[in-house]
């Protein structure tokens, strides 16, 4: 037994252990808590990277929980009975995104949160959320996916309600909770239907059994509804701006990553579980047109916002549209296996990483603004660039990257999406370009309003931990912007291939031949 | 229709009745009482479906603790639903 074999489970179990032990350490001493949190975070990141390296070098990793050996995923007769963690390229990629965002959030929260009791609880919840996201991404079992979905839901909503001394965050938390719970229950209902039909819960096994009856289609529809809601697709996106805008900054970026984890679940359902039976063009068109709608509606709503947090939140929602658009185009092209379909999927998946980094950077900068001035109202902000030099630089970088200004990473992924969605339908591409332009306008306005102009008020400078967190994300953005080819080839490419063509490999790895 | 079937049908109908009451009643405390009744009968239904484990869980959580939490929340807020 080598150590690396256990890496997938350690990546999930260690944050859980960290979360459970955190209050105990806090009771012992406060500094012990920070050391413990840092150690757990570093170890988790190391595990995630180990998993990714293993997956990208040697193929799908399977880990069977509770069996005599990790690879003994099936019993005599060729069916799995235990929970299986199955990590393919896409899962590993999503794990990397979660690790990146989680690391930034953890570093940021050291300097950001002030109140001690709340800080301990929020860090605990952060670790639970992180573990939940990694669990969603690594698991190969439908019900386990649901359980981790609920873990992330509850932890995320609690974090949204962090600032209980104001009424808006709690309100946002309640709304988000209602939506998440209903979505989760729809997912559970569909899992029940699938179980009733095939008597199994393992994704690979179900995928090999599913026949595409009306019942399966209803199950797929329920899954689509629940997961699209959790991902924040228009018209069920309304919880997202509320939650992103009102959550404390370090939690909001994890919420974005959580959204992407549900998107991952959607991809897994569409491309692995149901790929053999669904009529791919129709569902692809559905997803792509929802993506286009999301882009348009979210950007237009962002234009009218007067609150910096909500403005960025709408920007984040519109980015979800690009991902849906990219992968939807890929799905529509799946049955004919056109090359541009793969390109579109690469664009959509690359955009996930870009979005996590850029929106994360913007949200962290907005958190600095809020902490510095005590408000996020754009009408009363102005001239913060005099005091917050580094923050304005980071914000500008984020704006440019998000809007797709050429040398930065946003352009790379959006370019892939434009070109390939043009092949499917020029209207989709036009909407995507229009959304991008509007987004630049929106964020230019936000930047001008908040950071430029005469100094209106004194601002408290950001603490080093916060700057370090933003620095991490900015470095990633710059790296991806300057070397997109490298990232697309070594990270995004395998992930997209795993969805595009990797179902058979996945099934073979889990079901053993 | 065996005895078991009759029992099952009665229980299911009563569950639906309790749930509908929980939805329609304006007085929140009454709605919670109806919800507790529905949960109670749901537990009986689990029992009839030969799932005693689940029945115990539903009894402990649905009947006692959920009711307690709801009642506490109503106490901390207000009892009547606004028109």
């Amino acid at each position: 037994m080598t150590f690396g074999v256990h890496a997938p489970i350690l990546a999930i179990a260690v944050p859980l252990l960290g979360a459970f032990a955190l209050p105990v350490f806090t009771k012992l001493h406060r500094s012990l808590r920070d050391i413990w949190a840092a150690a757990v975070g570093a170890f988790t990141c190391a595990m995630v990277i180990t998993v990714a390296v293993q997956v990208f070098t040697s193929g799908v990793q399977v880990y069977t929980l509770g069996a005599a050996s990790p690879t003994a995923s099936v019993v005599q007769g060729g069916f799995p009975i235990r929970i299986v963690l199955a990590v393919d390229g896409m899962s590993a990629f999503m794990g990397l995104i979660s690790a990146l965002v989680g690391l930034a959030s953890l570093v940021y929260s050291f300097g950001f949160l002030k109140e001690e009791q709340g800080k301990t609880l929020a860090m605990t919840l952060f670790f639970l959320l992180w573990a939940g996201m990694l669990g969603m991404e690594y698991t190969g079992d439908m019900f386990n996916f649901f359980v981790f979905l609920e873990v992330t839901s509850i932890a995320a909503c609690s974090l949204v309600g962090y600032r209980t001394w104001e009424s808006a965050p709690v309100e946002a938390a309640f709304k988000t909770m209602a939506m998440y719970t209903v979505g989760g229950l729809l997912v559970l209902l569909s899992i029940g239907i699938l179980y009733g039909e095939y008597g199994a819960l393992n994704i690979a096994y179900l995928s090999s059994k599913v026949v595409g009856s009306q019942l399966d289609k209803i199950a797929l529809g329920l899954l689509l509804g629940g997961l699209l809601m959790k991902a924040g697709a228009v018209p069920a996106h309304m919880w997202a701006p509320d939650a992103y805008g009102e959550a404390p900054a370090q939690a909001a970026i994890v919420l974005v990553a959580n959204t992407q984890a549900s998107l991952y679940g959607l991809w897994r359902v569409l491309f692995t579980l149901f790929v053999g039976v669904l009529s791919a063009p129709a569902v692809g068109w559905l997803v792509a047109s929802l993506g286009a709608l999301t882009i348009l509606v979210a950007v237009l709503a962002a234009v009218t916002q007067r609150d910096l947090g909500r403005l960025i939140a709408y920007g984040a929602v519109s980015q979800i549209g690009y991902m849906l658009l990219g992968v939807g185009v890929g799905l529509a092209a799946l049955s004919s296996r056109q090359d541009w379909g793969l390109v579109a999927m690469k664009g959509g998946i690359f955009h996930m990483l870009n979005d996590a980094a850029t929106v994360g950077l913007l949200m962290l900068a907005a958190g600095v603004v809020r902490r510095a001035t005590g408000t996020k109202d754009l009408a009363s902000l102005g001239g913060l660039g005099h005091d917050l030099k580094w923050t304005s630089g980071f914000f500008l970088l984020g704006v440019l990257a998000l809007a797709g200004i050429p040398p930065l990473n946003g352009f790379a992924s959006k370019f892939l999406i434009y070109e390939s969605s043009f092949r499917l339908s020029p209207i989709l591409a036009a909407i995507a370009v229009l959304g991008s332009i509007l987004l630049l306008a929106v964020f230019a306005r936000a930047f001008q309003g908040a950071f430029l102009g005469p100094r209106l008020r004194e601002a408290r400078p950001a603490s080093p931990a916060m700057l370090a967190a933003m620095g991490i994300l900015a470095a990633v953005i710059l790296a991806m912007g300057l070397a997109p080819g490298f990232f697309v080839e070594h990270l995004v490419g395998p992930a997209a291939e795993a969805l595009w063509r990797g179902r058979d490999l996945y099934l073979a790895a889990v079901l053993g031949g | 229709m065996t005895l078991w079937g009759v029992l099952q049908v009665i229980t299911l109908v009563l569950i639906v009745a309790g749930a509908a009451l929980a939805v329609w009643l304006r007085d929140l405390l009454a709605a919670v009482i109806a919800l507790a009744a529905a949960s109670l009968l749901l537990s009986l239904e689990f029992y009839l479906l030969q799932a005693p484990d689940v029945a115990i869980a539903e009894a402990g959580i649905g009947a006692a603790l959920t009711t307690a939490i709801y009642v506490l929340a109503i106490r901390k807020t207000r009892r009547k639903e606004e028109e």
Binding site: - | L29, A59, A63, T67
Partner: protein, 88 residues
Amino acid sequence: MIGELSFGVAAVVLAAFMGVSVLRLAIGPTAADRAVALDTVNTLVVTTMVLLGAAFGQVVYVDVAIVYALLSFVGTLYIARYLEGGLK
């Protein structure tokens, strides 16, 4: 087995009485009436569970009835405690 059928019949009869109590739950003018109906349903459910445990010939099922007998009390107490809020 001798008694089992009779236990089943008794259980069905009790279930019908449950229906009567749920009627009171529906029409009860005040919340207190509904709470009384809930209490009655509780007792009836406990009895039904014990009877069904005998009817199914499954010993371990009676544990559920014990749990119910203990815990319905807690729910009733909470409701009773906060009935005092009155009829605003």
